[in-house]
C-alpha cells in the first residue's frame, strides 16, 4: 500500500478564468481607472472656475496622452513577450528629426504631400530602429535591456548630430492646424489615432494568434520554442512594430509642436514602461493588461496637467507617479502570490 500524504490528496479547485470584462480590465486597470476619475473630479473642483473640466483642458489631456499612449502600447507588446525597449523615446525623436527634415524640404510641393511623405519617413525611421534592436537581440543574443539602452544612446546621438543640436524650424503651420492640434467632434486627431492604435492592440491580444504567441514567448520562452513557434521571427516583428509605433508618435509630436524636441524625450521610454506596469502589465512577460495601458497612461497625464491647472509645480507629478507605481506593483504582486499560495 502506498503511503498517502494527506496534504497531497486535496486538489484545490482553481479559480475560474476571469470573465470577458474582468480580463479586459484586470482589477489593477480598474483601480487605476477609479483613481483617474477621482483625480479628474478633484482637480476640477480645486481649479479656478472648474477650468479643469473645460473642453479645452480635456483636449490638452487628450493631446498629451496621444504619444504617451502609443509608446505605452508598444512597450506593453514587448513586455508581454518578456522583452523591453528603452529606445522608444529616442526612436520618436530620431523619426521626428528625419520626418521633419523631409517635410521642410517638400513644403513647397504641397503640405499634404509633404505630410504624407513625412509620415512614411517617420514610420520607416522608427521601424528601422526597431529592426536594429531586433537584430541585436535575436542575432547577437544581447538582452533587450542592453540592446535598446545602446540604441537609445545611438539614436539620440544621431538626432543631435543631424540637427546640429538645434531643433528644426520651418515645419508648415498648416500641419498643426490640419492634424497636430485639429479636433474632430472636440476630440483631438492625435488622440483619435492613439485610441485606434490602442484598440488594435486590444484586438491583437484578445483575439489573434499573434497576440497569443507573444504572450507565450513571455510566459515560457522554452515552451514557445518547443511548440514550434518561430521565436526569433515573432520577436523581430514585435520590435519592428514597436519601432514603427515610436515613429508614428514622432510624427504626431512633430505635427503638434511644428518642431522637434531634442531635449524632451529622454524619459519617454521609462514613462511608457511605468504606464504599462501601473496598469497591470507584468514586467516579466506573459501578462498584458491593454485596458491598464490606457488608464495607466491617463493617470500620469492627468496628474501632470492637473497639478499645473491647480497651480502646483508639475514636479509633484513625478513624486505621485512614483508612489502609485510602487503601490500598484505591490498590490499586484500580493494578489499574484496569493493565487500562487492557493494552488500549492
Amino acid at each position: 500500500m502506498p503511503v498517502v500524504d494527506p496534504a497531497d490528496v486535496e486538489e484545490p479547485a482553481p479559480p475560474p478564468r476571469p470573465s470577458f470584462l474582468a480580463s479586459l480590465f484586470s482589477s489593477t486597470a480598474v483601480w487605476i481607472l477609479v483613481i483617474d476619475v477621482l483625480l479628474v473630479i478633484i482637480f476640477g473642483f480645486i481649479s479656478i472656475n472648474h477650468t479643469f473640466w473645460s473642453i479645452a483642458s480635456l483636449q490638452v489631456i487628450g493631446l498629451d496622452s496621444a504619444t504617451a499612449l502609443i509608446l505605452a502600447v508598444g512597450i506593453a507588446l514587448l513586455l508581454g513577450a518578456g522583452e523591453i525597449d528603452l529606445s522608444v523615446g529616442a526612436g520618436l525623436l530620431l523619426s521626428s528629426v528625419y520626418g521633419g527634415k523631409v517635410i521642410i524640404d517638400l513644403a513647397g510641393s504641397g503640405t499634404l504631400f509633404a505630410a504624407l511623405v513625412g509620415l512614411v519617413v517617420c514610420l520607416a525611421v522608427g521601424a528601422a530602429i526597431g529592426l536594429v534592436n531586433a537584430v541585436i537581440v535575436t542575432r547577437l543574443h544581447v538582452s533587450s535591456l542592453i540592446a535598446t539602452l545602446a540604441t537609445l544612446g545611438i539614436a539620440t546621438g544621431i538626432a543631435n548630430i543631424a540637427t546640429g543640436g538645434t531643433d528644426l524650424t520651418g515645419i508648415p503651420v498648416a500641419l498643426q492646424d490640419n492634424f497636430g492640434v485639429r479636433a474632430v467632434a472636440s476630440i483631438p486627431l492625435p488622440a483619435l489615432v492613439a485610441l485606434v492604435v490602442w484598440a488594435l492592440a486590444w484586438f491583437l491580444f484578445r483575439t489573434t494568434r499573434y497576440g497569443l504567441r507573444i504572450l507565450a514567448l513571455g510566459s515560457s520562452r522554452s515552451a514557445a520554442e518547443r511548440s514550434g513557434i518561430r521565436v526569433k521571427v515573432q520577436l523581430a516583428t514585435a520590435f519592428v512594430i514597436v519601432g514603427a509605433l515610436a515613429g508614428l508618435a514622432g510624427f504626431i509630436d512633430l505635427t503638434r509642436f511644428a518642431t522637434t524636441n531634442l531635449a524632451g524625450h529622454q524619459t519617454d521610454a521609462l514613462a511608457a514602461i511605468t504606464a504599462a506596469v501601473i496598469g497591470g502589465t507584468s514586467l516579466f512577460g506573459g501578462r498584458v493588461s491593454v485596458g491598464g495601458v490606457l488608464t495607466g497612461t491617463l493617470l500620469a497625464v492627468i496628474l501632470q496637467d492637473g497639478l499645473v491647472v491647480v497651480g502646483l509645480l508639475p514636479f509633484y507629478q513625478l513624486i505621485a507617479v512614483g508612489v502609485v507605481l510602487v503601490a500598484a506593483v505591490f498590490l499586484d504582486t500580493r494578489r499574484t502570490s496569493g493565487t500562487l499560495r492557493l494552488r500549492r
Binding site: 483575439t207 494568434r209 493565487t339
Partner: protein, 272 residues
Amino acid sequence: MGLGDTGVASVGEVSAPPGEVVIAARGIGKAYGHVRALHDVSFDIRRGEVVAVFGDNGAGKSTLAKCLCGVETPDTGHVEIASHPVSMHSIRDAERYGITAVHQDLALAPDLTVLENMFLGREVVATGWRGRLGMLSRGAMAVRSEAALADLRIKLPSVRVQVAALSGGQKQAVAVARGAMWSTSGILMDEPTAALGTRQSDVVCELIRSTADRGLGVMVISHDIPRILEVADRVIVLRHGSVALHALAGDANGRDIVDAMVGYHEHGGAQR
C-alpha cells in the same frame, strides 16, 4: 507487487505484445566527444504498450529519448517509424512522424489557458476573413481540448483556466493530453512523476496506461521504479549507454532492475 498475476508468467503468453511496432531503435549509438552516451541500443515500442526505460544518472536515458524525438541524430544505427528507417533532425521532424514528447519541465506556458497550451504552435484560426486576420477560433480549440482530455479521463474544472492555477498533477495531465492529442504513433515521457506527490503520481500512472490503451506506443523514462513497473508492459534498463536488461514487466521485479542499473551481475553474481 500489486500485479494481479501469479508472479510467474509463462513465456508463451507474454512474448508477443499486442500491436504493430510504431517506433524502433536499431543499434543506436551516440557519442559526445570521448563520452560514449549510447552504444548499440535496440528495442521496439508497439502500439498499445508502455515501455519503461530505467537507468542511473548518466546511463543514457535522456540521450536515447532525444534520439527518438529528433533532438539528437544518432551517430550509428537508426530509428524506424512504422518499420521504415527515418532520419530526424528536429522535434518538428519527429512530430511529422507522429511522435510527441512530454518533457520533464512540461513545456507549458503558465500564463496561458489549458486550451491555449494544448494548441500552442498549432492554433486553430477562424474561417474566412477572420482567419486571414489571424483571429483564433477558441470555441473549436476548446471542443477538441475537452475531447482529448475526456479521452484520457482527465478532469479539469475548465479548459479556460490558466495553467498556473492547476496542481502539479493536473499540469502533468495537460502535458500528457497535449502529447497524446498530437501523436499518431508514439509518445515519449520524461520523468512524468518526478515532481509529484504519491497520490498525483498514481493518477499520472493511470494516465500513462490509458494513453497506451488508446492505441499509442508509450515510452516512459523514470526513476520511480515500483510505480512505473505497475503500468509498464516491458522494461529496459540502460547502463553505461547499453541495454543491461530487456524484459517483460511481469518477469522483472524491482530488485532485478536495480541490480541491472548498478551492474551487480557484472561484478558479483556472474562474471563476464
